[in-house]
């Protein structure tokens, strides 16, 4: 289908983009890779009057080493995330999860920042970002600000970004030695959205789990940290039995959606099973 009519600007700097956005308020929408927004436009489910294309702002691409953090530009594509040596070395979970996003064509166009700012509850990267305790960097008319990942996702497709704000980058803490990771995703066709996804990070010491972090995809309107699993896994033996026992509470307190792909009970079951698998893989047992 043909999208409704809209104006289009392609600023060269973040400042220009912010002022273009600020001028039009809620009628303007940022576009980066366009892999989520363009389908919405073509289906005429969204009618922005102005698209601000970040495609001309190259400072938003790339990965920088900031000591104990990595700063990943919002326009870095999934493909670049998968193949970046710094990300591979310091937060491999992000690279592994980005490799499961949709299909190669989408991974070449779609961007990390776009996927996170779109905040689709079935998107893979929001749960990973939440599990990694990352920080979002936003720039708006009032200057820059930082938003912790766990305060960033507010609702279906809704984030803490204001109408005039642009997500410029994501600061991810480097995982030290001893951390293992795994993103487990369940879907029926290769490029489909996750019916349920689980991002697990496990730090082992002396055959025990010293610390675990678990993020759940598509188990609610926003990505969720499975706090009860994290508490149960911490201090547990790094054995398949202990980790599976810890994973039993993965679905507690969640309100997963019901749709064609699965009923809430099915999703809760998936969450428990996938959390067990992800923890085992992350702990290397």
């Amino acid at each position: 289908m043909i999208p409704a009519k809209f104006d289009y600007v392609r600023p060269a700097t973040v400042e220009d983009a912010v002022s273009a956005l600020a001028e039009r308020g809620e009628d303007a929408k940022v576009i980066a890779g366009g892999q989520s927004l363009l389908p919405l436009l073509r289906l005429r489910l969204a009618y922005p009057e102005l698209l601000v294309d970040l495609g001309g702002i190259d400072e938003l691409i790339g990965v920088a080493d900031e000591g104990d953090h990595l700063l990943i530009g919002a326009r870095t594509t999934h493909y670049q995330v998968v193949h970046d040596p710094l990300i591979m070395q310091h937060c491999g979970l992000l690279a592994q999860a980005a490799g499961t996003v949709a299909d190669p064509a989408v991974r070449h166009r779609g961007t990390l920042g776009g996927s996170v700012a779109h905040a689709d509850p079935a998107g893979d990267l929001p749960a990973v970002i939440v599990a990694l305790d990352a920080t979002m960097l936003a720039r708006g008319p009032g200057g820059g600000r930082e938003i912790a990942a766990r305060h960033f996702f507010l609702d279906y497709l809704t984030t803490a970004l204001g109408p005039g704000e642009i997500l410029t980058g994501i600061r991810v803490p480097k995982l030290g030695p001893g951390w293992g990771y795994r993103y487990e995703k369940f879907h029926r066709t290769a490029q489909a959205w996750a019916i349920v996804g689980v991002a697990a990070l496990v730090r082992r010491s002396n055959g025990q789990v010293a610390e675990a972090r678990v993020g759940l995809t598509n188990m609610g309107s926003v990505p969720i940290r499975a706090a009860s699993v994290e508490a149960a896994a911490a201090g547990a033996q790094a054995s398949p039995e202990a980790l599976r026992a810890a994973a039993a509470s993965a679905a507690d307190g969640t309100q997963p959606p019901a749709d064609l792909h699965g009923a809430p009970d099915y999703r809760r079951h998936l969450a428990r099973v996938l959390t067990g698998r992800a923890l085992e893989a992350a702990a290397g047992v």
């Binding site: 043909i2 409704a4 009519k5 308020g25 809620e26 929408k29 927004l37 389908p39 919405l40 289906l43 005429r44 489910l45 969204a46 009618y47 922005p48 779109h118 905040a119 509850p121 079935a122 708006g140 009032g142 305060h151 507010l154 609702d155 279906y156 497709l157 809704t158 984030t159 803490a160 204001g162 109408p163 005039g164 959205w193 609610g220 309107s221 307190g253 309100q255 997963p256 959606p257 019901a258 749709d259 064609l260 792909h261 809430p264």
Partner: protein, 357 residues
Amino acid sequence: MELEHSFSVPVPEERAWEVLLDVERVAPCMPGATIDSVDGDEIKGRIKVKVGPIQMTYAGTAKFTERDPAAHVITLEAAGKETRGAGTASATVRSKLESAGDQTHVIVNTSLNVTGKPAQFGRGVLVEVGGRLIGIFADNLAAMLAAEQSPAPQAPARPEPAVDTAAETTAVAAAPADSTPDEALPIDVLNLSSRAWSSLRQDGIQTLGDLTRRTEQQLRAIENIGPASLADIKSKLADRGLALAESADRPVTPAPAVPADVNGSRPAMGRHAGPSETDAGEELAQVTPLRPARHESVDAPARHEPSTWQPPDNEAIDLLGVAGLPVLKRAVPAAAALIAILFVLLGIRRRRARHRA
């Protein structure tokens, strides 16, 4: 999707019955709804739904299809069509009233049906959002009914235990003595953006009263409330004749928690979520603090509903203007077929001419 909500209100059943039958007062309880016209029992209106970048407006009608005083059942049917697309949404809302002394227990069964693009593309998100809207509708209905009660002393309302949802909590705050009925309404009636709504709720602001006890500075201090949200909140409050607190002369304190039997008029609102209501317990746990309200002012929601109606944009597409010359290519096969037929006809005529010769 089938949903069930239930709540108790401290008004006698006859009163609740009367209010529930007043379309003009029931309709504004639906978030995002505006009334275009009222004709007897039938009400024409539209409802705007916005989820992130997705926005849809459904226009349609709502009317009562069942009024059975013997069975204490009221059924309201609403059906609408997308104003910019072919999708439809319909809901049958069946309310059953059960009298329990001075209280009325209301069970709301809703069957919600969404068709078309939004339903397909949204992977169920829109149905979920619709279910949530109906949850808010039930809350608003409860708030409006509770505001109906007379100021006469009544037996203390005992909180109805939540039926089965573990995440539910029943938090109750009492509004200050000078509150107006409007202040008892949940902030949902303002139809704020979901960002502003979530942020206010996270800060413990549940009712218009909670909101008007804050100053502008305090709201600004809340994460994610910026100048745009603030302006929106202020204008929507002004539509209802309310305003934010002044910064200096009205010290703001959280509403004091009052034991359940102090004003004896709080609604007990156990809510029972249907199986598909997805959002977190926080949402389900929505409870509206209320106090005795004056009868004449409870029409307020209907009267003050800000009108957000806008003429629908022209849907017609100028195909040539949008797609340009390539559209003409679509005529090529037809033209080719015509030419082919012409050749065949010419050939036949020539052959006949040769035969005659």
